[in-house]
């Protein structure tokens, strides 16, 4: 079970209203490579993981990503909480505003609501870890792109922190893969599951 601690993992203090930037950052809330997909992917995959080390790894990172989801939500909220009437009409935000006002909804920047079709739980330790490593790489690129699109230092400080965490997660999943290969068969260099003849 989960316990809520009333603070963010890393502080979020955005001073300037910017609905258009909010409409981009939200892709890490409900986009294809965002924090919702990350946390749900890891917290779902752990059930079928064969060893306690991997169950623990996925629980740890999945729980941390829930906290990242909360941070992204805080950025979107703070970028839009004091909208003037004119700002609600900003290009790229009005289509969001009409259906969600200034609420935080799990959608991609494109307007596509988050779908579990963007993640997979394969029930196979090698496939699931490969999926996880790819997910971290893709999330890292999304953060790179937000940094390319944003010039708000208050936002960028948080994004840089989150980007760093994805790199650490990628490393930890890589260690999980090495552990798995050791356990399965050291010679299985191409990571094929030997359990099926």
């Amino acid at each position: 079970m989960f316990i809520y601690e009333k603070k963010l993992q890393f502080p979020v203090n955005i001073r300037n209203t910017n609905p258009r930037l909010a409409g981009i950052v939200i892709s890490q809330y409900g986009g294809p490579d965002g924090e919702l997909g990350a946390s749900l992917r890891y917290l779902s995959q752990r059930y079928s993981m064969p060893w306690p080390e991997l169950k623990g790894l996925l629980t740890d990172i999945g729980t941390e990503e829930l906290g990242h989801l909360e941070m992204i939500g805080a950025i979107v909220h703070q970028l839009t909480r004091c909208l003037t009437e004119e700002q609600t009409r900003a290009a790229g935000f009005d289509a969001y505003f009409v259906d969600h006002t200034a609420g935080v909804y799990p959608t991609a920047a494109s307007g596509f609501p988050w779908s579990a079709g963007s993640m997979q739980v394969k029930g196979d330790v090698l496939a699931d870890l490969a999926e996880d490593m790819a997910a971290e790489q893709k999330a890292r690129v999304t953060y790179d792109n937000i940094l390319r699109l944003s010039d708000d230092p208050d936002v960028n400080d948080v994004i840089k922190y989150l980007r760093e965490r994805e790199i650490v997660h990628y490393q930890r999943f890589g260690e999980g893969l090495r552990l798995t290969l050791d356990k399965l068969d050291e010679k299985n260099v191409y990571a094929m599951n030997p359990s099926f003849p």
Copy 2:
């Protein structure tokens, strides 16, 4: 942020393998009225809630629903962790098995992957609370239906517990609505937001 406590909110101990029942119960994991939608709905709506009491209410219930999601995942996992070859071919489970083996994937019983299109964050206190009360009623019916479809007492004990919690949540959201109407205008008997002239 969230902290993981390594125990379930209510114990799950399923003795009998039953893939077909797993294929039904999973609708409370990733179906239209399941625990994923519940937790994400409440944890997302809280940002735009106007008062601390409501932010706290949504955070509390949203966090508890994350624990319920974990419990449903545990039921599905325990119903399928010792599948014989013949059981994998069970009608109603083979279509799931081919793509997810015995992993826990956020899908409805129908096979439709969870979509954020099944929930809403409207950024309006009255609409969001009405959405939440409806969500609890719909989740209650899904639990009723699982109890109609299942005769496994190990499963049903957990489902009855979860069903009770939905009733409590419905009550608490009802109290949140009364609080809101009091704050807005006692005479606003039909719950229309007066902020818009």
Copy 3:
């Protein structure tokens, strides 16, 4: 069965072309809380309603919402029927134009085609009425937001009329809920279906 009467429930006479506004208003045609979802929700739920009063209520409102869908379509059509070449390229409308020209297609403002995943028919009188009350609240907010985003009085007159109708529908569903609670059990204050022990 349905009979078409060749007039709108409320007149729509838009004088000015405005593709960008059309791209917002269309969310009440095919968006998550729009008139298509409303009419289909009510006309579908009525089959499993337990009493004639409720079947009649849902048929009445569902049929009226079909007329509202037609009115929204008329607004979108009139806002775009005389597009100049330059207007087709307007930000926020070109993405719609390339796939639908100036036709009226059931999509949200975000470009997400309408999905039945945004509505529910639960086959339970209490859950379905709660869903309906939430739907009316959410539609009311969308109309509020259109009024915030639009300064075309020809459009706004119609939107205000439609917004009023949603309030009336919310009241009528509330009366349906009271009738239901009376019939089920006067003490069932938290609206839990007693049919399941």
Copy 4:
């Protein structure tokens, strides 16, 4: 606007409960080539039709299809309204039952909720009429297939009536296409819109 007449276009009187057949017939309620898509396609396309004859044709057929949608809903309802406990667990219906009990929900037999992505409004008279003719052919095949899968004469009588109507609609859209080609240019034998140079 639409007026409801309290009778079905063709009587529906199903004597035998058959949830599995209901789970097939529902594809004409919310499946890819069903009556919901048909009515919405025609009622949406009419706005951008260039001549009154075509607007009238689409309004007529679209309104009739609303009545067919109601008939299909009545079949599904009557096939499931007296379910025994055992029948709710029937293979192919339990996945539907858990989320919708015996309500009528707009989904395909596969469990995929109806999506507007399965229809098109192109804003071009030739393309829209070609889409409509294809839609009638596809609906005709679905009815053929229901007749292949069902041996309930009460159901089949209604399905045969509906199948005949699709053939008539196909003919009428063909007449609409001929009218269009006459108006555009008699020599435009390959039905290319000459409005674009």
Copy 5:
């Protein structure tokens, strides 16, 4: 099986960077009436076609459409391969950029990822050919609309070529339909499949 020949069916040489136009043209890559849907529709339908002539027709056109998909991808790529930082922030492209950088992803201009729900394989020769004729008409309109929205001659030359090919395909499917009607029954003027009594 397929063999790749390292040249485009028609040359693509775009000189000017234009992310906004790329965001429109991409609808023929992954939009509802684009080349992905076309090729997959025809290559999938051929299995159940009853005669070798039709299998061959669908294989030919399906394979050609794969080459058109490649050409559209080349246009999108060349319009975005030299983006300046400022150009990445262009309205209508930033939402794409955050999730796909300058990669070519199969989405509609609206941001809706391509879905097989936008095509059909009905397993019936008449319905499938009607679907194909409609598909060609709809693709033709999308090309018309790109020409209305674009003033880049490098792009428009290619689009005009592709538009012409759709007209030819429409003719060839029309010939396939005539062949089918001849084989089935010359008097079957309304194109109803006689195989079902």
Copy 6:
């Protein structure tokens, strides 16, 4: 462009009709980790690849996967081409049959139509190669599962061949990743793109 060679990459000769198995195998046609997603992923990603070796690698494998898609379609077709009336009603196939008869439609075994949301093109060489390696692992597991669910040797021979090809592709993408790391920076051991400071 692509040239069709009228033979399969590996022969498919299925002797026994088996609609239920067809309903499982089809997940490699249009399921989340199937051959359609594979070919489209690689053929789309190649545009933004930075070096000719990688463009060539993706074109080669993407083209081969088109041939695998064709082989899977041939299996599904041969398993269903001689259906008796009774076989069309087989549990797990009737829901498919009603909408597609015995045609080959790109859907998952669950009935969810293929969606581009199940793949990604990130426009970043490291992320795209990680996605590709994960895709091959997931496809390998699906083939493992088909082998667990099928006892038809005619089918299994083909599936084993296709499974082997996925292993080879995984190796080749691994070589592509090593090439990339060499080119980027030998010390970039955690595969982070150095292009962003």
